[in-house]
Amino acid sequence: MNSVKSHFLRLSTKNNVTKISKKFLSTIEEQGRRSELFSLEQERQKQNVGRIEKIEVRYLGQPNDTTLVMNKGLSTPYNCAQHLTLLHCNRSALALVDNHTPWDMHRPLEDSCTLQLLHFTIADPHLVNKVFWRSCSFMLGAVLQECFKDEAQLQLHSFPSPSVKSGSFVHDIFIKEPSWTPNKDELRTISAEMIKLAAKNLKIERLDVSYDLALEIFKTNPYKKEQLPFIKRSSKAGTVTVYRVGNHVDISRGPMISSTRQLGRCTITSVHRIASENNGALYRVQGVALPVGFIINHVAYGILEDRSKKLNSARFPHEPYEDAIVNMIA
């Protein structure tokens, strides 16, 4: 506990957190603040584990079934993969705990369990595909946050539940620009940023935070603030699940893939204006992507790109009924 206190002390002396409400922050500073809060909470939760207990994790799969003795509340499926081979670490996108619960690769295991590591070329990759599609939406948010200038006053709205069959992944954003139609170069820039993010090989981390902390993290985003009460109501423990990649923090129900490196080919194909809002508009950014290692003919990929240009009809953010909001945030 002491170290956490000292952390806060250090922050307050640096005026990083305490003076935020008093001045306007640029996007980068704002992201830094969110990430800092995320790190602090992560550190706090790690220290709350206290006395380290051992759990037995039964790994099922290639090269052979083994039992690993891991630390309760600290060891993640990724750590289990590290005991196997480098291949397992790199290719595993998702873990399956006790044969039915999908589990993030970087989420600490809570009890003795069986563990399977899933990747993109297993016999039934339905789950992994969905997780990949969601992660693409999330990463698109991270990229968009960095692409726009501060004058655009970009606010990420949310991204709907992923559906691979729809042909495109989606992120809804607000920009203070009533009618923006991006040209080819702008779209290509966003695509390139996605690829750059993939090359950085950042891990995607998950954290369950309390409602108050979530409010503190997202206090500058009016849309997220609106959504938070509904999310709190829908979750059993009253907590909010947030994810972080690099410095970008966002709400998502999860799970996500293990690392940004697993994103292979990616194109952002279109931006549709879906509703007007005060002095600006809500836009839906769409794209298509394949995991790393999936090589398809450029003509076939062109067909996928063309298809992803059409407006994705997943739940729109401005739709009136409130039940939708819970489903809206994937």
Partner: protein, 200 residues
Amino acid sequence: MIPRILVRLEVLLQHMEHSFPVLFGTKPPPSIVSLVASNSSVPISSNSVEPFSLKDLIGDGFLWAVPRNRRTIEKRLKRKFGHPDYVWKLIKPKTTLRTCNQCGHDYEVGLLCPHCYDKVRKETELIQEKIQKELGLDPVDKEVIVLYDGEKGEKPNEQWNGKRIVEMQRPRPMWFSKNLMQKTTQPAATTEEAKPNELG
């Protein structure tokens, strides 16, 4: 000032002392160390200086031919390690090894995975043996279909019409999928009902 001049004078005197014997051909006086040595044991035979001769060294023996020049560093290194483009004597790292996506064993790029292929080869040999036993020396005029335990009853006999069935007396191996050989025009199964709700 004065001590420095004194030091210089001393040095000059020393130099002169040393250069006198060289200039005038007299023998230099014995050094202090040799004095100590002479005091202790053997007196130095200073007067008997003989010219050096190879015969003293060889005696009754004779000399072999020896290398007249030193080998260059390049040649010595090449002898030791070889040349990277021609003969390289050290161990080279192999960069063409990959890990098989199916079984996790290592294989060389372009070749089949040894572990996976071994499995396939053993099964293939069993099937081939069985087929040859069934067919014998008859003229082969029908396609052969391999069925494992309990698969014959799955479909009506009309399905196998015009095909020769060879039955393996064992259950189908897990990794040998039944569907690979059969082409179908039916759409892929709709997996919507099997979707886990937790995912959202």
